[in-house]
Amino acid sequence: MPLTVRSGRDSPAGPAPAGAPRATRLRVRHLALALALLLAVTLLSVLLGAADLGWQRVVGELVAQVTGGTSPLSEREAAILWQLRVPRVVLACLVGAALAVSGAAFQGVFRNPLADPYLLGAAAGAGLAATIVVAAAPGTLDWVIGPLQLAAFCGALSGVVLSWVLGRTAGHGTGTLILAGVAVSAFLTAGQTFVQQLNTDSLRQIYSWVLGGLTTTGWREVLLVLPYVVAASSVLCLCARLLDVLGVGDEEATALGVRPGRVRLAVLLAASLATAAAVSAAGLIGFVGIVVPHLVRLLVAGSYRVVVPLSLVGGAIFLAAADMIARTAMSPAQLPIGVVTAFAGAPFFVLVLRTRGRA
């Protein structure tokens, strides 16, 4: 059935007519602005650190690397910069991007603004599974595809599915899923503590990891995380339009020719993979998945075509900045990064809760 054109303003064959509606799309200027901010934050983060290399001399080293000139840094200082500080900043960006994009994905799939890998039990599930592997098979932690990654992925997925199933049996409200997630998280975290107590010799190491840490970092961790984050983010960016369709509810999505079950499965797998990669590299870091997607919604637009890609960049910015604060605020001591994100994120969570309550 062709729709008849009522007015003569539209030309059927020409370009979109003047005054035609504009769909919400990722605009180049928003992406460029976000990338510029990311560059600025990572640069600043590389310049500052516990070992005082002097920011002018770090700049000198960077310039020397680009131009091939002589560096003001000694060999040992250059090693601190390139083998410790830079990979740590890069890892912070990857972990932040993974947590933020999986937060956005969980929010879309569950149609729940408060969904987040930390609150849904995904992070706790990955944490428990990873702790078991750390305790039981410490020799396998270097493998790119090893028991650690597999266990963390299964743990993350199990955590989310458990929260979802429990939430469904109790009702359909926004809060029900989160309450179920909190219960599942508490249970899984208790399990993790139990496993730690059974392995007190490695307790100290695991404890700092649970609070969220990027401390023991070289390029090794970056390479362990990168492929998973790239794969998961690609899937999620491809599914962004379908997340908008899911926003109308399963029934209407089906009536629009979309199969909600398949979309949900693909997105849950990808988001759990991203969460697992982030957790197995940096432990439990909360609130990134809540803060970043909501800031994107507030500042730019609510369509997942915008929220998903900008959450990737925004998550990287947020966690690189949080890590910078964690490293420098009480220098030379380091704050666990999870403390910094919780300080910023918990009040924000309350803010989101309040606005949703009014709507």
């Binding site: 729709l3 979109a16 769909a23 339009r241 379908l242 009536a255």
Partner: protein, 264 residues
Amino acid sequence: MSGLRAVDISAGYRGRPVLRAVDAEVPAGGWLGVIGPNGAGKSTLLKTLAGLLPHEGTVTVDGTSIDGLRPRQRARVLGYAPQTPEPPTGLTVTDYVLLGRSPYLPPLGREGRSDLRVVAEVLARLDLAGMATRPLATLSGGERQRAVLARVLAQQPRVLLLDEPTTGLDVGHAQALLELVDRLRREDGVTVVTTLHDLTLAAQYADRLVFLVDGAVTASGAPGEVLTQARVAEHYQASVAVLTSDGSRIVAPVRHAGPRPAPG
């Protein structure tokens, strides 16, 4: 036969049967109204016609069975709007109406110019062009119902299945929306099936009615034949007067003086 035809439809939810051997039929370009008391299975019938519930029996559109169609193909034939649509927060009117182009896109595809053009036409026809960039959450009830209708029209379906399209609208806005649907029907030849609570509006706009009671058809035909005082009083357990004005039935509630008679 062209148009929509449902034969011997039985359907329900998880082992709880709701519809029993329902037949319904409407010629192409016609308007079928589904009426009946609460819980009679009106919404279930619409969902079944939309292919959203497993069912027995056959549904054909223009002589072709739609039961075996894939979801995307079916969504090009049938447009469905539920009784209480849940418009997603955060989308603009344009984004929302653009979702109606999903049946024409591959699952991971994105919309092109032609899709935006269809949306522009639909927005213009439904007087929504002025609010194309507004967030859905800022629309009034009447505007939101029109946006939902716009999304369904963007599917360019041959049959519109609208479940209580006037829910939450006052009588003026309800009339405006139904007039709009009627105009689309006459201009495009699209077939309309609606459930309607308001029997007077149902009689005025639909050219055929199906009267459901307990999941079965108790009467069907022209509104004048279906809406009798005895039938409405019996099945709705209501005190009503059925009047006729300008050839159309008007169902008016009547309150008897003194204590109400016990229902039944």
